[in-house]
């Protein structure tokens, strides 16, 4: 796994494996062990997210969409256990040893107690933390509760950078040190003449031996309203500030050790003033990079926001900080969990626009979780509808909206008041979501389904009804059409 990680951090170029999906979740089952009983929150969930696509998970409160996302990051809350399933992310199974992670002890009074294997969890955390936050990042629903109120926005973004891409920060500084006036001039002239693609820029920098400058250059060049002359001046300025010799030595050592502070520097870093020459330099560089990220997410007045605390920012700005954090490490997969539910429509439109733009610039895939069918239809390529811990239907966006098959999907679509039409009564789905401690046997939608019949008391099959359109329902069930999930 470590090999895998290094490979992706050393280069920004994405080697796309065309057929292999980025994320593949298979037969995931999660239960929560509570005093009231065992909540079967996720019953049997399988789906895949392909490279560069936006995959949506829709469903009502408590259907398990957020838990699915958390499980992908291996962040299932303490009471929950992954009982079964595989989570494949670019060749790694993140749920490898799930049987070793916990033990269920049956007590005399019929209750079940959960005992976790702490050493196994430690090992898991060490493994997963190389992927979590670096290759998979997450944007949460309520930015106020997921940002730390006692740190400035800039510091929180820097934290992600220092934790996950300290080597590239060092590379930036070293490359700037190597950059001579002539080399920078060459870059400035070439970029002024024609717009270089990312690959061309990479090639150019490699030839000059300045790979670390890629991000900064790309950032300068992608600024929209800046006249060329100013861009050129900025590029020439890159080589101005050179670190001191002691700092340089420290940086080289640090890079060699892969970001771990070498032993003989640890004491120096403990001294407040001297620290500035060593770790302080990296923190400052991280803050610079954070500023770039904030401008990238169209933060108004980014320079000030860097030094502001979350409570000083509005909801939309907070969400932009969260997004800047999520893209800081250039992840392959961004999980966004109801990113706009706490925002107003006009700000929601801004954020959706931003996500779309970032997806294209970073070539990342997005796992988009929402209960709002409107938002989903604005941004997703494919989507899965969840109900009571199951995915009941998967299809491409247009196919699902045009041709919904599962009775729940149909009910859900009909329950939303439409923009263009005025009806006297809205169609509803009768009843409420079942209690997942004792879910209905067979199909979990059985109790509310208008088309229920006798076969529904058995677990429904996963049936392919069209190209890339699968549904979990007996209505379409001829045994020969069954497909492997």
């Amino acid at each position: 796994m470590t090999q895998e990680v290094e490979l992706s951090s050393s280069t920004n170029l994405r080697q796309d494996v065309a057929d292999e999906p980025l994320l593949r979740v298979r037969n995931l089952r999660i239960s929560f062990i509570t005093r009231a009983g065992r909540i079967q929150a996720i019953n049997d969930v399988s789906f895949e997210v392909r490279a560069r696509e936006v995959f949506g998970l829709v469903g009502e409160t408590g259907c398990g969409k957020s838990q699915t996302a958390l499980a992908v990051m291996r962040l299932t809350p303490e009471a929950g256990v992954i009982e079964r399933g595989e989570i494949w992310f670019v060749g790694n199974n993140l749920a490898k040893n799930i049987s070793n992670e916990f033990k269920l002890i049956n007590k005399k009074n019929g209750q079940v107690k959960l005992k976790r294997n702490k050493s196994q969890l430690k090992r898991l955390n060490a493994e997963v933390s190389e992927i979590r936050g670096k290759q998979i990042s997450m944007v949460f629903q309520e930015p106020m509760t997921s940002l730390n109120p006692v740190y400035t926005a800039g510091r929180q973004i820097s934290e992600a950078l220092i934790r996950h891409s300290i080597v590239s920060l060092i590379d930036r500084m070293l490359a700037r040190n190597r950059a001579t006036e002539e080399k920078l001039k060459e870059i400035a002239d070439l970029t002024a003449r024609s717009r270089l693609s990312e690959e061309e820029l990479h090639g150019l920098l490699k030839r000059l031996g300045l790979e670390g400058l890629q991000d900064e250059l790309w950032f300068i060049l992608s600024k929209k309203d800046m006249p060329l002359a100013e861009k050129k001046a900025l590029i020439l300025q890159l080589g101005r500030s050179k670190p001191k010799a002691v700092t340089l030595r420290f940086l080289v050592r640090l890079k060699k050790s892969g970001g771990r502070i070498p032993f003989n520097y640890r004491i120096l870093n403990g001294m407040p003033v001297v620290r500035k020459l060593f770790v302080g330099v990296i923190e400052k560089e991280a803050l610079n990079a954070s500023l770039e990220l904030l401008s990238l997410v169209n933060m108004p007045n980014a320079g000030n926001v860097l030094h502001q605390y979350p409570h000083e920012l509005s909801g939309g700005m907070r969400q932009r900080v969260m997004i800047a954090m999520a893209i800081a490490t250039k992840p392959k997969l961004i999980i966004v969990d109801e990113p706009t539910s706490a925002l107003d429509v006009t700000v929601q439109a801004q954020i959706l626009e931003l996500l779309r733009y970032l997806k294209d610039t970073f070539n990342a895939a997005i796992l988009f979780i929402s209960h709002d069918l409107g938002v989903i239809s604005e941004i997703c390529d494919r989507l899965a509808v969840m109900y009571a811990g199951n995915i009941v239907e998967v299809a491409s966006l247009t196919e699902l909206f045009e041709n919904p098959k599962h009775p729940y999907t149909r009910g859900l679509l009909a329950a939303v008041p439409k923009y263009g039409e005025k009806r006297e009564t809205l169609q509803t789905i009768d009843g409420t979501v079942p209690n997942l401690i004792d879910p209905p046997k067979g199909c979990r939608f059985r109790t509310r389904c208008p088309q229920v019949f006798d076969r529904c008391s058995q677990g429904p099959p996963w049936i392919q009804v069209g190209k890339e359109h699968c549904v979990l329902c007996w209505l379409y069930g001829d045994s020969d059409k069954h497909v492997e999930q």
Binding site: T346, Q348, E353, G374, S377, E378, L397, Y419, K422, T432
Partner: protein, 479 residues
């Protein structure tokens, strides 16, 4: 504001204002205030559903609470089932009072007398109690609006007890029927709120609101905390109850599609003021105010086939402690022009940015900007380190026009004229601005009113037609 003939008006609010003071800890300085609701006129007819839409912090909820007098107003009058003549006289007097050369004779006394006799805001405890019987509210979150230690029947019975509806048996009988009306059978009456789902809890809240058979109910985001399928149930229930009991609703929501589904008329609020009022269909199909247009165009439509161009507003809702002058929407408005409320500070920032950006090749030679000084709301000066040639002067003027056209820096439209003083070593550019006016709600056609200068200063229809076209609002799904 016109009261259309025919149906009788149930509730009318005139110049409602609510400012919330902010504690600063300073004793002698003036206390800053949040201008949450700032001069709102509205009316609700009998049996009508009026929707209030707007972004969070625009004062929708404050308005709802003011109407029930759950919070004390800063100023304004609220008439409930008052005779039309009284209200008319009050509006007349109020307008006279507001004009600058009003004679302060016995008009003021009459005004106060009307307020004292009819306005809910002035009524004493007894009258207020009567009013409370007729009006009710359903809150957004049923988890926090229901007492967790009371059984469902007790919750619904509470208003009945408070208003001495009758004997205990009568009260509980009524509670049970009400719950049944709201779709909760007798098996529910002895349960506690935590045993119910979100939708069922909201049904209890609605049953409680209807307990004293009020005429008027404020629905403050009644479905925001609910799921889509449950939301549909609650909306249907509300519609059914409205028809059954001939209720009037003030339906507050930020969810535009839901408001459209529910209401007959719509008030669009922005930053504490009403920017547009009209029949639901008219507002949705032919919106007038630029804010309404942008708001409607940013509603996500659950239909992948309707691909619409969006007007994405820049910036966010203004700080209501220091609300923007003139039209409060002008800093974000893509069509703002001279009288919309630009002040020196805004224009100066934009002006300096343009001068120092160097986007225009001839202007790169401009001397450096030393500093800008704000003289008053309509004048400011900028000091440049060096002399300007006449050529520079024309360049500056030209660039201002270019900026307005190309990049939509609307602030520069407010520049009236520029004087350049070259007599000293540093040159001073003095800029005069157009005066701004506060837009008033203005009838455009029928019942459809809008507070926007575009319609009074001319060119409105053309500008807005283009805006609508840009946002392709009218494209609905016809395949």
């Amino acid at each position: 504001m016109s009261n259309s003939e025919g149906e009788s008006i149930l509730l009318q609010g005139i110049r409602l204002k609510k400012y919330f003071p902010i504690r600063t800890g300073k004793v002698f300085s003036k206390q800053p205030q949040v201008h949450a609701v700032d001069g709102i006129d509205f009316f609700i007819k009998k049996g009508e559903v009026v929707g209030v839409v707007g972004e969070s912090g625009c004062g929708k909820t404050t308005l709802g609470r003011l109407v029930l007098r759950l919070i004390e107003p800063t100023s304004g009058a609220l008439f409930f089932e008052a005779s039309r003549d009284v209200v008319k006289r009050y509006i007349e007097l109020n307008e006279l009072e507001c004009s600058p050369n009003a004679k302060r004779d016995n008009r003021l006394a009459e005004l106060r007398a009307i307020e004292k006799a009819y306005s809910i805001f002035r009524s004493g405890r007894k009258n207020l109690r009567k009013y409370r019987k007729e009006t009710q509210i359903v809150f957004q979150d049923p988890n926090s609006s229901l007492d967790p230690r009371m059984r469902i029947k007790e919750i619904v019975a509470e208003p009945l007890k408070a208003h001495r509806y009758g004997k205990n048996e009568q009260i509980y009988e009524r509670a049970t029927t009400l719950l049944e009306d709201c779709g909760l059978g007798p098996q529910f009456v002895n349960r506690f709120p935590h045993e119910l789902s979100g939708g069922q809890r909201q049904r209890v809240a609605i049953a409680r609101a209807l307990a004293m058979s009020p005429q008027f109910v404020v629905l403050d985001e009644p479905t925001s905390a609910l799921d889509v399928s449950v939301q549909a149930q609650i909306l249907n229930l509300l519609k059914k109850l409205k028809n059954e009991f001939n209720l009037s609703f003030l339906f507050i929501s930020h969810h535009l599609i839901v408001v459209r589904y529910m209401s007959d008329r719509i008030l669009v609020m922005y930053a504490g003021e009403i920017v547009e009022v009209g029949k639901t269909e008219e507002v949705f199909t032919a919106p007038l105010h630029p804010y309404t247009i942008a708001l409607l165009s940013s509603v996500p439509v659950p239909d992948p086939k309707t691909k619409r161009e969006r007007i994405i507003l820049q910036g966010e809702v203004p700080n209501l402690v220091f609300p923007p002058k003139g039209c409060r929407f002008h800093p974000r408005c893509p069509y703002a022009f001279e009288p919309c409320g630009w002040t020196s500070a805004e224009v100066m920032n934009a002006f300096i940015t343009v001068l120092s950006s160097g986007k225009y090749p001839p202007m790169t030679k401009l001397p450096a900007i030393l500093h800008g000084t704000i003289v008053d709301d309509f004048t400011f000066t900028i000091e440049l380190n060096g002399n300007l040639s006449p050529n520079d002067e024309t360049e500056i003027r030209r660039s201002l026009k270019m900026e307005i056209k190309d990049l939509g820096v609307r602030a520069l439209t407010a520049v009236k004229d520029i004087q350049i003083d070259n007599s000293k070593a540093t040159s001073i550019v003095a800029v005069n601005l157009h005066e701004y006016k506060k837009p008033k709600l203005n009838q455009v056609k029928g019942d459809h009113s809008v507070a926007c200068h575009i319609y009074t200063e001319g060119g409105g229809e053309i500008v807005i037609a283009q805006a609508r076209k840009e946002s392709s609002l009218l494209v609905s799904r016809q395949t």
